[in-house]
Symmetry: C2
Subunit: 504 residues, 2 copies
Amino acid sequence: MRLGCDPGRSQGAPSDATHVFERTPMFRNTMPRYEILSGDALAALDGGWRRLITEVGVEFMSDEALRLFREAGQKVEDNTAFLDPEFVLEQVAKAPREFDMQARNPANNVHIGGDAMVFGAVYGPPFVREGAVRRDGTLADFHNFARLAQSFAVLDSAGGVVCEPNDAPLDSRHLDMTYALQTLTDKIYMGNVVSGVNARDTIAMGEIVFGGREAIEQTPVSISLINCNSPLRWDDRMLEALFEYCRAAQPVILTPFILMGAMSPVTIPAALVQQITEALSGIALAQLIRPGCPVVFGSFLSNIDMQSGSPTFGTPESGIGLLCTGQIARHFGLPFRTGGGLTSSQVPDAQAGYEALMTLLPTFLAGTNVVMHSAGWLEGGLVAGFEKFVIDAQLLEMLQHEFTPLEIDEAALAFDAHVEVGHGGHFLGAMHTMERFRTCFYRPFLSSSENYERWMRGGGKDTAVRAGEIWRRRLEEYAEPPMDEAVKAQLQEYVARRRAELGD
Amino acid sequence: MRLGCDPGRSQGAPSDATHVFERTPMFRNTMPRYEILSGDALAALDGGWRRLITEVGVEFMSDEALRLFREAGQKVEDNTAFLDPEFVLEQVAKAPREFDMQARNPANNVHIGGDAMVFGAVYGPPFVREGAVRRDGTLADFHNFARLAQSFAVLDSAGGVVCEPNDAPLDSRHLDMTYALQTLTDKIYMGNVVSGVNARDTIAMGEIVFGGREAIEQTPVSISLINCNSPLRWDDRMLEALFEYCRAAQPVILTPFILMGAMSPVTIPAALVQQITEALSGIALAQLIRPGCPVVFGSFLSNIDMQSGSPTFGTPESGIGLLCTGQIARHFGLPFRTGGGLTSSQVPDAQAGYEALMTLLPTFLAGTNVVMHSAGWLEGGLVAGFEKFVIDAQLLEMLQHEFTPLEIDEAALAFDAHVEVGHGGHFLGAMHTMERFRTCFYRPFLSSSENYERWMRGGGKDTAVRAGEIWRRRLEEYAEPPMDEAVKAQLQEYVARRRAELGD
């Protein structure tokens, strides 16, 4: 059992100019993995993707990608590459099994792969919710979410598009977001993927903060989400971004975006086969672009409601898919991404609580390496919720404690405490208790165990109300992590120049 | 993957006069168990309980119990039995690894042990909550909870004291509760344990319904919770009830009641050692009373908040304890009880949702055989919540679907669907989808995935409000399961006579 109630990280591990960074106290899941696929099942899935990638193939809406596959001896017809599974596996084998990423604060450096788990906030919502108000997200909201991600030690990253800053100029808002992620947080951040141009800007801004191209190629500073337009198609703009990031050795998360019933068949095995086919085809391309480029086997797998067509989250099917995905990614020797605090609920209510955990707990059971959407996801991902952000941070803390192995030694067995207390007594004042009472149990910051009378005297506030108080207080207490003024000026100059060039 | 959205059971499997009953479609968890204790850890715990039971011993506040231990050659001083671990294991070995129970409706018979999981409602709350109202529980509430337990197919039992019927006469309310469980439900039920007298009444009423003592001894009809007054003491009234139930071969759940920090040391390993010691000592006594009597290794394990002293539920510590308990019970070859939908929350909010699942999901991972408190638990068990009852039933349905193994065959891989749909298309109208769309995914009855506009048009109801509508509708639609009028009259006669005898 980890002692100490705060899973926060120690500060100030010195920066290191070499490739191998100091191990920071990021969360490592050394508990057993929960695996549910038999050898036969894995073999069936293996047969499935080999057939699919060979006979149906994958569309790449990029001449450059098709050229690379053709030059590598693969069959290409129109936009479809029909890939030899052995060729794909050769490419996959070039990807590192694990890799490091550097953050502006070296104490926030992360390792990706193995037993390491990295947590980022929700990604992509056009709307935000605070309390009873649901509205368009703004750049101010984006800033506040970035500050909250900085504030909660349990998060390794604000992620990327924590919410869409709808009031920022469209063609240059990627500059605003990247600048905010780089200055309001000192954690790793995600790169913009709307286009190759945006990716180049993200990379250039990383070079400014981290000391040039060589430095970021040596140890990457951004990680980017490349979604497949499932089924079996990679679109042009995402691929443009992929090319840029791979050339700069910045990690990419190749993610089939699958809502079963719409983007894949309705059976989980079929969705898993498709997911393997899509992810591996993208990873093969990444390795053709730059052999050894760090990649992550991505998964975003849920299902639609077959009556209404609505996407649903936190479902039994997505839980099963998540567990299988971990096993599959390990089978291919790749770090993987899946999970998060997903829910369909419109508000941070009981459903939001149980659906988020219905995804997050399997995320820990699977030992997911990169967890996007770990905080703030609401309403099927359309909304970034301030209260939900706090609820998810609470869940992450609880789970990080739960997935820390027990230490069993003589002192933990506490025989002497039994001798001291005897039959029918209580342990509140026992020596064994006195020595440990401050740190023995995880103490939640959001959950209430107040008795009814006390809770009523405090206003009878439910979890969502308390969460609202917590995020407001966190924002009040927030202090921007210091940044070299010259670097900051250089960033601002870059943003201003590029915004002008982009005509915004 | 189980097909079909309703995990309900088929009706009308014929009654069987022999000991072995028809397998009913009760839930069986054939997924892998999640085990986190190493061999070394198990060995350390094994050494721990052996030392504790030998050197500190266990108090039994019953001369009859002490006499049995003494006659069996065990060392007894005052009320404390110092037990030889090998003797204890010999007694434990007499208990059946698995056993059957008969319900009034044979379709609701259950099996206890192995991969079978039995779910009962919350047990013991003095208060109830409906919506914003929290008040003393009444017999009318008890009836309504019993009806709801009958109504939700996912529950195998209403349990026992679903809420305390505070308006029923104290000395005879066990008769009212037993009568209600026997008539308003046709599922198995729990026996009253307030005293030996109450236990005898429960048994007598079981004899009336199921055709006499021999019939219920052959296949038991009630299961009873015998709590240890932890640490290391069994109290007199509970033991009186234990003697009665064991003599009638009615199963007992021997449960250490441990809130770490108060009733046990603050370390999980110490709590586990104590739990083994207490449970096995009670099981040994049960086997001395009647060798072969069906027993369940019980666990109720959470912790207090060390700052306020409040009990806390759905904590990381209780999750870890739960997983360990399953492994320990299997080690001793005993069916086990733990888990439930526990929460400290005062209302059915986000915390109630995530804490309930934080306990229920590990309950499934551990493969718990008997799950008390699976529906309705609120406010640390002080309150039976109507809305929470519905939320928990939703969670149980989701989990029963999630813990059903995938079927992977050629049809599930859906290769032809990919050929039909092609790249970038959608599967909504594919033949493979059309053949499966009604049953392919679990469809929740409580969770909402409505889009925002539609949800707002419907009144913008959160989960608790929707749950309130559901339980009210369920009660309206409830029909009492038919019972032979002569049997019912005999029960009523018994209740009236005994109430008079008890002076109420």
